[in-house]
Symmetry: C2
Subunit: 258 residues, 2 copies
């Protein structure tokens, strides 16, 4: 059992929770809690950490065969946990390794293209909703919040394992690849002439969604085939990015009868 916060493994674990750079170098991320443990494909689990009390109370009920398990004292576990009331189980998990073809391979594409989204809660909720709406892949600009951020991972509720996604260095170049595949790009834009429900999403469809405060950059908006807007009553100037995405994604479902 590890009882010291200056243990090398503990230090690395804490850094993996906090530093996107280290996560990307090591190509791993950290997931916490029983729910996420059970959602994680076993072959991707690099290491399991249990708190001492979790291990003594519930360790025997878990199937940990074939996994490398380490016990941490409760104090050390709290120290490395990203949650206020840790359940007592966390894992280091291999990152996904998708290429753009994975994101676009579906017969009838339904893609999200996220530019510079910053709120971890929004990002996780978008991914969870996207799975529910049958989205086939997600492309993100390099400056979008790290999907392996512990808060994002938690709020995806496991969808992170089931939807192909990719950060792209050159967002505009990726838009060209998407277009070249015959997928139509719709930008959610306050200046869109047509409302979102007047367009046809039966063919391959991608939605461009911009930053929470600033919307899409002019360059990204230019890359779209069509600008669409969500009508807003009252004095509302914009909708939350996760809400706007959900309305668009579920309109695709509705039209496709999915």
């Amino acid at each position: 059992m590890i009882t010291s916060t200056s243990n090398a493994k503990v230090k690395e674990l804490l850094n993996l929770q906090k530093k996107a750079k280290l996560r990307n170098e090591k190509k791993v991320f950290v997931v916490e809690g029983l729910r996420m443990f059970s959602e994680t494909p076993r072959e991707r689990i690099v290491q399991v950490y249990l708190s001492e009390s979790f291990h003594s109370k519930k360790g025997k009920q878990l199937n940990l065969s074939g996994l490398t398990v380490e016990i941490l004292s409760d104090t050390v576990f709290s120290y490395v946990s990203d949650t206020k009331s840790p359940q007592g189980i966390l894992c280091i998990v291999k990152q996904n390794d998708y290429i753009i073809e994975d994101v676009m391979k579906a017969e009838r594409a339904h893609i999200l293209m996220l530019e510079n989204l910053q709120d971890p809660g929004n990002m996780g909720t978008i991914m969870r909703t996207a799975e529910g709406a049958g989205v086939t892949g997600i492309l993100m600009s390099r400056d979008t919040v790290d999907i392996y951020n512990p808060k994002v991972v938690r709020s995806t509720m496991g969808s992170i394992y089931r939807i192909p996604f990719l950060y792209v260095e050159d967002f505009l170049a990726a838009a060209k690849v998407v277009k070249a595949a015959g997928i139509r790009i719709f930008a959610a834009h306050l200046d869109g002439k047509d409302t979102y429900d007047r367009q046809d999403y039966l063919g391959g469809t991608a939605f461009l969604i911009g930053n929470e405060g600033n919307g899409l950059t002019p360059e990204a908006a230019e890359a779209a085939d069509t600008w669409i807007r969500i009508p807003m009553h009252g004095k509302v100037e914009s909708l939350n990015a996760a809400i706007a995405s959900a309305i668009l994604m579920y309109e695709v479902c509705r039209q496709r009868g999915e």
Copy 2:
């Protein structure tokens, strides 16, 4: 200028931020920031507090005529603020005083009935989206999160001033009143037979939305005319309450061509 955190006004301000009971006794709530100040109807502002540095830098640009203004030292202002980086302006504002007829008075009702929603961010986002979707009123069960909670107020982005809402002691009795007014009640329910987009929302419509973790109580679900569900692909078991509400509310807009 008030420079002590033990000043009686400062103590009351802090209590108003933290305690729903005191807010409801005094029939006021606290709003923070320039945006919320400008959204607030002036006749409802009881008192304005400015931080010393806000007052010296920006105080003259604000129209504060007719308002009671008090200056707080920056330290005291931070002490009473609910935000990490306070802008330096907050107001005590009179609560709304709606009755159920206000919530139902629209010619073509579009109502949300929220049962025991608990997440302040969800609640604020729902209210903001509701205004955008043209919702005509919101009814809430007594155990729903306090709408005057500072986090809710902030995330409504001003919608709190523009949508009639009411907490009801007896949620089932309120459902009867809604039905008696010829408004159809649809419960968002995982066991709904029909998907939400197969129903007609051209007439008066109310949506019953349940608690984030547990959904609707059986009694509330029983009170609905129809159960509807939002289709979910993949392994998603439920959608976030604000997301589910948004999909339903915008389907009403779509059908009504609003």
